[in-house]
């Protein structure tokens, strides 16, 4: 075996995944090879260094988004519904898939007809339960309890073409970096507590401002347009196609107590 082969074994040894036989072979080699001894020491240093890095915790926004997005969409398999109702009679007779089809298909037809009869044209503005939150820490030491929320507002997504179900749509997102830069640069020092704006995200992944609500300072307005118009975005996806969408964003100054 060459030194290179032993170095793969050294990696296994450092990872605690070496076999007893290989360990004996490796130690015999290490007793005679100074370069491999040095490699072992280096490798321990590298591994220890990487293991020592700290990964931050996700903030509570992750729970909020994931759990709210998934709360209403779980569809229980029909077979488990019947099991829970005590319909075990089919278990020994049909394969599970076949049983689901036989029971599920007529049920699906009935439900579809019922819903179809109830629904007039689908609503244009879709209710959205997703909120994405970015927190920008204050630079000033005196007001270090102050943070900024950059929120994607609820109930404000409008998708084209009209009448899509939220289930079919992946929400559009903006790159958070320009948003953070803007918040850090302008909102901290100004007296403005809140800015709301509507941004159009095109299917090509470009973002541009549709309108800004209640912001009278023209300089700030210009800078906001400049910042967001050159930012990148992930377009909304519906039925596997990228589509144009609108998104509402709110910069909000929040004081955290305690």
């Amino acid at each position: 075996m060459r030194c290179k082969d032993f170095r793969i074994l050294i990696n296994e040894y450092v990872d605690g995944e070496i076999t007893r036989e290989d360990e004996i072979k490796l130690f015999r080699h290490l007793a005679t090879c100074e370069l491999c001894q040095l490699y072992l020491r280096d490798l321990r240093g590298v591994k220890k260094g990487v293991r020592a890095v700290n990964v931050p915790f996700p903030d509570e926004g992750l729970d909020y988004v994931v759990l709210s997005k998934t709360r209403f969409r779980r569809i229980k398999p029909i077979s488990s519904i019947f099991k829970s109702l005590g319909f075990h009679i089919f278990n020994g007779i049909f394969r599970e898939n076949l049983r689901d089809m036989i029971i599920g298909f007529p049920m699906a037809v009935v439900i579809f007809l019922f819903i179809f009869s109830l629904l007039s044209p689908l609503p244009v503005a879709l209710e959205n339960v997703v909120r994405q939150r970015y927190v920008v820490n204050s630079r000033s030491e005196e007001i270090n309890k102050m943070i900024y929320n950059i929120l994607y507002l609820e109930n404000t997504y409008q998708f084209t073409p009209e009448g899509l179900s939220l289930d079919d749509v992946y929400i559009p997102r903006l790159s958070s970096i320009p948003l953070k830069n803007f918040a850090e640069k302008h909102i901290e020092d100004s007296e403005i507590d809140r800015i709301e704006l509507i941004v159009t995200v095109t299917k090509d992944g470009d973002a541009h401002i549709d309108r800004i609500l209640e912001l009278k300072n023209p300089e700030l307005k210009r800078d906001l347009i400049k910042t967001l118009n050159c930012s990148l975005a992930l377009p909304a996806i519906s039925d596997g196609r990228k589509i144009n969408s609108k998104i509402a964003i709110r910069f909000e100054k929040v004081v955290v107590t305690g």
């Binding site: 990696n11 992750l62 994931v66 779980r74 958070s176």
Partner: protein, 194 residues
């Protein structure tokens, strides 16, 4: 029943897809998935974004999960693909983070080991530790995608060779040789930094 007991029960169950409780999976693995994605992307907001996407995808695909691999490797596979796709997306938009190496000096890796093994007491030592940590992150970001994923999975996430092999769908021998090459790559970068 604790989450861990539930997880054990889930993995032993025959009718796997019917008995999985999404919120338990989310609670159990959200930090692991976030940590993996963050370590690959190196950006907090992007990692939050991708982690959200991963769990929403997991939720949608849960019914199709057969239980042939463990939930953890399945989740990690989805997370790695999502992180790779995000990097690809930003690369196509000519978006790349830039890293500064202005404060880099020469030292050696054994010294790095000694520095990290000391208990942190004074603010100075704390600052030094943070500085070293920052340099390790920089080095990780300079690794190729394949190498970074392997180093993160092994050294940060602490997965076994078998789990990495299942997640990446490659033989264990390949895991070993790729990990060796990845560490060589990282060692070279760190030798330049310290």
């Amino acid at each position: 029943m604790s989450i861990f007991e539930k997880e054990k029960l889930l993995s032993e169950s025959d009718s796997f897809s019917e008995s999985i409780d999404f919120s338990s999976i989310f609670k159990l693995y959200k930090y692991d998935v976030f940590s993996l994605v963050y370590s690959i992307l190196g950006n907090y907001e992007e990692a939050m974004d991708v982690t959200q996407d991963v769990f929403i995808k997991v939720f949608e695909k849960l019914n199709t999960f057969q239980g042939r691999s463990s939930i953890k490797t399945w989740l990690f596979r989805i997370a790695i693909n999502a992180a790779k796709n995000r990097i690809r997306f930003w690369n196509t938009k000519k978006w790349k983070e830039t890293f500064s190496f202005s404060s880099l000096g020469k030292s050696n890796l054994i010294l790095l080991d000694l520095k990290l093994s000391k208990d942190v007491e004074t603010p100075e030592e704390r600052y030094k530790k943070l500085e070293i940590e920052g340099k390790i992150w920089e080095a990780l970001k300079l690794l190729s995608m394949k190498s970074r994923i392997l180093i993160v999975m092994k050294d940060i996430e602490g997965l076994s060779y078998m789990e990495i092999s299942e997640t990446l769908n490659i033989p264990i021998g390949t895991v070993k040789s790729r990990l060796y090459r990845a560490r060589e790559e990282l060692k070279k970068i760190l030798e330049g930094i310290f």
